[in-house]
Subunit: 210 residues, 2 copies
DNA sequence: ACGAATATCGTACCATGAGTACGATTTACT
DNA sequence: AGTAAATCGTACTCATGGTACGATATTCGT
């Protein structure tokens, strides 16, 4: 019955939260399943009732992260539906997402091709959310193209996909090389990202003023 | 004496080659140190004479990869010193680098900040090669800016760094999501990369024709 | 309230793989 | 030949993911 369901969800959530905190603190490889059990205050056996493996836990966190990613982008575009406001809102959302949880950010670029083995339903879900995000950005691009008469050289889907790759590339680099950026360029990583986003905007609209 | 040195280098090289092949075949996590020892035809003990740990082996391969990366970019710019020919040559070199060895490509974006612990000399070397690559691209950008009167909005260093991040972002995505790209956009990953590189070029030169 | 099903626990395991110890053996230098 | 260094092989330790299983607590139907 539903009560059981909810309790079960509650337990899974507790385990995932504990795992997330530990992963964040010490890194994934440095966190043992016993650590997670202890922190979440369950026995190890119970952990394995709710999750098939440590990998399974990681995948669920990855999924959670992708869903948050999607929500943040939806919210960004709802609050800033115009152009290029929406574009910068997406960039900003992704940058904040990195702060929230750097561990799974790389996964955004999606090491995951659609798994044949449909039993691995988490992986399928992760994949699907990735596609959904891309579709949302695609819609936005389409809208902008129509509203501002922007001439694209390829399809909106391709543009949105490329844009997505570039944005996450900049965010990843900015965070990983923060010290170098400050030392060699004398600017903060935030400034570096901002400049990068402005540069990227030209890939859509060229030098045109709107 | 020098002979000893050379023999030592030879052994290290053999071990690294074996490791590289196995990593490529089965992935890093799936390759055991015993596997490497067997393939390279050394005893496990000897492996640990030449390398401190499996991680150490990975780092040396990472360094090798970065050096190859640098050489390929130098060569690309020597053969195509003009603009935007040089730019596309860099893109092409990086795409080929991914084919050669996808495993360490991600490391390009350099999870490695300058390590304080200077005893970890491999890491320092990796870091330095990364900086060198960036300086080479910076020089190229400077030259182009001077020759073609390109107006940059930030410093050449920053532009080259951003460009580097974007190029590797596109390559990573194109390879990881090859199947999706073919299915959803009906083009090859090579075509996707090419289109992306063309788009990116606008971040430098806007809509200007040269 | 009682008995059955279910969830949780704890402890003791297994298997794997990184890394070490150490004595035996081979190779190289003089 | 004799010594020093390199290499080997075997047998270990240790950490960790994952399992087995019986004991205990909790929940639910009746």
């Amino acid at each position: 019955m539903a009560k059981k369901e909810r309790l079960s969800e509650f337990n899974r959530g507790n385990i995932l939260s504990a795992a997330k905190a530990l992963f964040h603190e010490k890194g994934i490889a440095q966190t043992t399943v016993d650590d997670i059990a202890k922190k979440a205050d369950y026995s190890k056996s119970t952990i394995y009732v709710y999750f098939a493996s440590k990998d399974d836990i990681c995948n669920h966190l990855h999924l959670e992260h992708m869903q948050l990613h999607k929500e943040m982008i939806v919210k960004a575009l709802r609050e800033s539906p115009d152009f290029p406001g929406g574009y910068f809102a997406i960039c900003d959302a992704m940058a904040r997402l990195y702060e929230t949880n750097p561990l799974f950010f790389d996964g955004i670029l999606g090491e995951i091709e659609l798994p044949q083995n449909e039993s691995e339903s988490v992986l399928v879900q992760i994949y699907n959310v990735g596609e959904e995000i891309n579709e949302i950005i695609e819609e936005y691009i389409k809208k902008c193209v129509a509203a501002y008469n922007i001439p694209l050289e390829t399809t909106p889907l391709q543009v949105s996909f490329t844009l997505w790759a570039n944005i996450s590339g900049i965010i990843t680099l900015a965070n990983r090389k923060e010290a170098y950026i400050r030392k060699a360029m004398g600017i903060s990583k935030e400034q570096f990202m901002q400049d990068g986003f402005v540069m990227l905007l030209k890939t859509i609209k060229g030098d045109a003023e709107l």
